[in-house]
């Protein structure tokens, strides 16, 4: 009796999955396989369900293909392909996302600490130092950073307090300080401070690959690089983006064809440093003459301009741990944003 009953329940559950019509009738009686206590039975029902799902999926795919084929034959537009669901698509709604026509944002930008550098009143001058105990990979990384960021200077740490260092830098008219922190013989964290009393951002550094470890790496020149900041959507992200922007001079030298990228994806900021080249993808007609690349694009629709990249310089990943208003002061400082473990609970929520 019991066996019979379970079977029928299982079938109902399976049946419910299949046909949506019947599902409505049977919603009250639907039993998930996980509610069956008997392991053999449960696994059997589960396997059946999975098989059913697979068949359904295949059927749907076939139907879709047939529809596309038919549409092409008839000359109509094939039905649009479905958009796959990604984490970025399904990101939780965040009200601090910057809109393009946000007056407040622009006003905020004008009044914030970076505005003086953005307006080219001050040229960025960076002080790079380390934590007290330096390690194997630290110096190599620092020398690469020096080559990436123009107008950067390295000073040894000694045992000065960070606050003293901030004072010293202020006297010498630096615009930012970067502190590279090492842990277990690897650079681990980056502290970026804007002076005179600018925000302090604490990043966790991971996946560092030095220039010599990159295959086919290029050697950067000393032209001022272009900057690409991608994926900074919210207000906080925007602020962090401007922080990075303030490290680099505002008048890039396009002849140098150097680009530094900070790409934010799911709260991880990827740093890349490339040299690039534009190339036209040639077709038969356009064996041309010296049309400029942008004209070429207008000429024939088939000819495209592509950029090709060669990686040079280090690549690493940053994750924001905390953003503090004012220079480094853990005890008395006012934090704008701090990462707490409870923020990680949702996989669809990002802050930058």
């Amino acid at each position: 009796m019991a066996g019979k009953r379970k079977k029928s329940d299982g079938e109902e559950g399976g049946g419910g999955e299949d046909e949506p019509v019947i599902k409505k009738e049977k919603t009250k009686k639907e039993i998930l396989p996980s509610m069956i206590k008997n392991k053999d039975k449960r696994s059997e029902i589960h396997a059946k369900l999975q098989h059913q799902k697979k068949l359904d999926k295949r059927k749907r795919a076939k139907a879709r293909d047939a529809a596309i084929k038919r549409a092409l034959e008839l000359g109509e537009e094939p039905p649009a392909p479905k958009i796959p669901r990604t984490i970025e698509n399904t990101r939780e709604f965040d009200e601090t996302v910057c809109m393009p026509d946000d007056e407040e944002l622009f006003a905020g930008n004008d009044a914030d600490e970076f505005s003086s550098i953005m307006n080219r009143e001050r040229t960025p001058k960076i002080l790079i130092t380390t934590c007290r105990f330096n390690s194997t990979r630290g110096p190599a990384f620092i020398s690469e950073l020096l080559s990436v960021i123009p107008n950067a200077h390295y000073y040894k740490r000694g045992t000065y307090d960070l606050k003293k260092i901030v004072e010293y830098a202020n006297n010498k008219e630096f615009t930012s300080i970067i502190v590279v922190h090492t842990n277990r013989r690897e650079p681990d964290a980056l502290l970026v401070m804007t002076l005179p009393n600018g925000p302090t951002a604490h990043f966790k550094l991971s996946n560092l690959v030095l220039r010599k470890d990159i295959k086919n790496h290029g050697n950067p020149t000393s032209h001022e690089p272009e900057l690409i900041l991608h994926g900074f959507t919210t207000r906080l992200g925007h602020r962090v983006g401007r922080l990075f922007q303030s490290l680099f001079p505002q008048d890039p030298d396009f002849h140098g064809r150097r680009v530094v990228t900070f790409h934010n994806q799911r709260d991880f900021i990827f740093f890349r440093h490339h040299r690039y080249v534009f190339e036209t993808k040639e077709t038969k007609q356009t064996d041309s003459k010296g049309t400029k690349t942008k004209d070429a694009k207008d000429k024939v629709s088939q000819e495209k301009i592509k950029a090709r990249l060669q990686e040079c310089g280090p690549k690493f990943t940053l994750k924001l741990i905390s953003l503090q208003n004012g220079t480094f002061d853990t005890k008395g400082g006012e934090y704008e944003w701090v990462h707490k473990p409870e923020m990680d609970t949702s996989r669809r929520r990002f802050f930058l």
């Binding site: 990604t86 984490i87 970025e88 934590c131 007290r132 307090d161 960070l162 966790k204 991971s206 996946n207 272009e226 690409i228 991608h230 994926g231 396009f254 002849h255 064809r257 680009v259 990228t261 790409h263 994806q265 799911r266 709260d267 991880f268 990827f270 890349r272 490339h274 040299r275 690039y276 080249v277 534009f278 190339e279 036209t280 041309s288 003459k289 010296g290 400029k292 690349t293 942008k294 694009k297 301009i305 592509k306 950029a307 090709r308 990249l309 990943t317 994750k319 473990p341 990680d344």
Partner: protein
């Protein structure tokens, strides 16, 4: 009854729960021990008359134990607060342990010295900033690493960078090309080579002529030399109708002038002198020209002509 010797024998040879044996010696973990070493004279359990110094909240206390109170463990240890001044504390110890065995007094004073030094050091350190060591749970580290990897895959960095660059190129309407299409560059170099060869020949021919024909040929020769320097620039110069004045036929190439920039003035000179395709190897050579020079030379050419 208290028999210290018996106690010591039993403790030492059987088992003492305060004893800690390591490579370098035997130590006593009893909090009332003066020296910290497991010794017949340092063991607080095996000596009925004993004194020690202990610290609480930065204040030092002298603890004393006598045989008269051996049967009252609750009231065994007598505690005296020592003054914070080091010398005064020493005097106080002297006073309290006046007729006690010298060894014990000496050891107590040593302990006081050591603890005073420790206290000074702790106070100094508390003023300095120290790095606080925080722990990261393993689970979080692993989770972050996993998420980072997936984010990197989802990011499609190269594609997005390339897209952005191409977009910027369109939006900016550069009035100077900043990257030269490779084939055209090669052609240009070849043309230059040929021209250079031609010019060199011409120079060889004309030099003997210069000797007996004065004005006209001189000018021509000069013109040629000017153009030799200048046509490289003119090649490069953009909306210059003046360039048309050059008489070299090869100059009027089917493809219009392009701007070519060199990486440095030195490199440009090299290129024009050598005319070699050595630069061909580097795909990314930008050939630049310094405007002032070009202008100067062009002007000179004009004047001469």
């Amino acid at each position: 009854m208290q028999n210290d010797e018996v106690i010591w024998q039993v403790i030492r040879h059987k088992h003492c729960s305060f004893m800690a044996k390591i490579e370098t010696g035997i130590f006593c973990r009893n909090p009332y021990n003066v020296t910290g070493i497991c010794n017949r004279s340092s063991c607080p359990l095996a000596n009925s008359r004993y004194a020690t110094i202990r610290e609480h909240d930065g204040v030092f206390y002298l603890y004393m134990k006598t045989i008269e109170r051996a049967h009252m463990p609750n009231k065994l240890w007598e505690r005296v607060k020592l003054p914070s001044n080091y010398e005064k504390a020493l005097e106080s110890i002297d006073k309290h342990l006046m007729y006690w065995p010298k060894l014990l007094v000496h050891k107590t004073k040593q302990r006081l010295t050591k603890m005073t030094q420790m206290r000074i050091r702790m106070r100094k350190l508390a003023l300095k900033t120290r790095e606080k060591i925080m722990t990261t749970p393993r689970k979080e580290k692993k989770r972050e690493a996993r998420r980072e990897e997936k984010a990197e895959k989802a990011a499609l960095l190269e594609k997005s960078i390339e897209k952005e660059l191409v977009e910027r190129l369109h939006n900016r309407n550069y009035d100077e090309i900043y990257n030269y299409p490779f084939k055209e560059y090669n052609k240009l170099l070849e043309m230059e080579e040929m021209q250079l060869a031609v010019v060199e020949e011409k120079e060889d021919e004309e030099e003997p002529e210069i000797e007996y024909v004065e004005a006209g040929d001189d000018l021509e020769a000069e013109d040629d030399i000017e153009d030799f320097g200048g046509f490289v620039m003119d090649h490069i110069h953009t909306d210059d109708d003046n360039v048309g004045m050059d008489e070299d036929d090869e100059e009027a190439e089917p493809h219009s002038r392009k701007r070519v920039r060199k990486e440095s003035a030195a490199a440009s000179k090299k290129l024009s002198r050598d005319g070699s395709g050595a630069k061909l190897k580097k795909k990314r050579v930008l050939v630049e020209v310094e405007r002032e020079d070009a202008d100067g030379r062009r002007k000179a050419a004009q004047d001469v002509a």
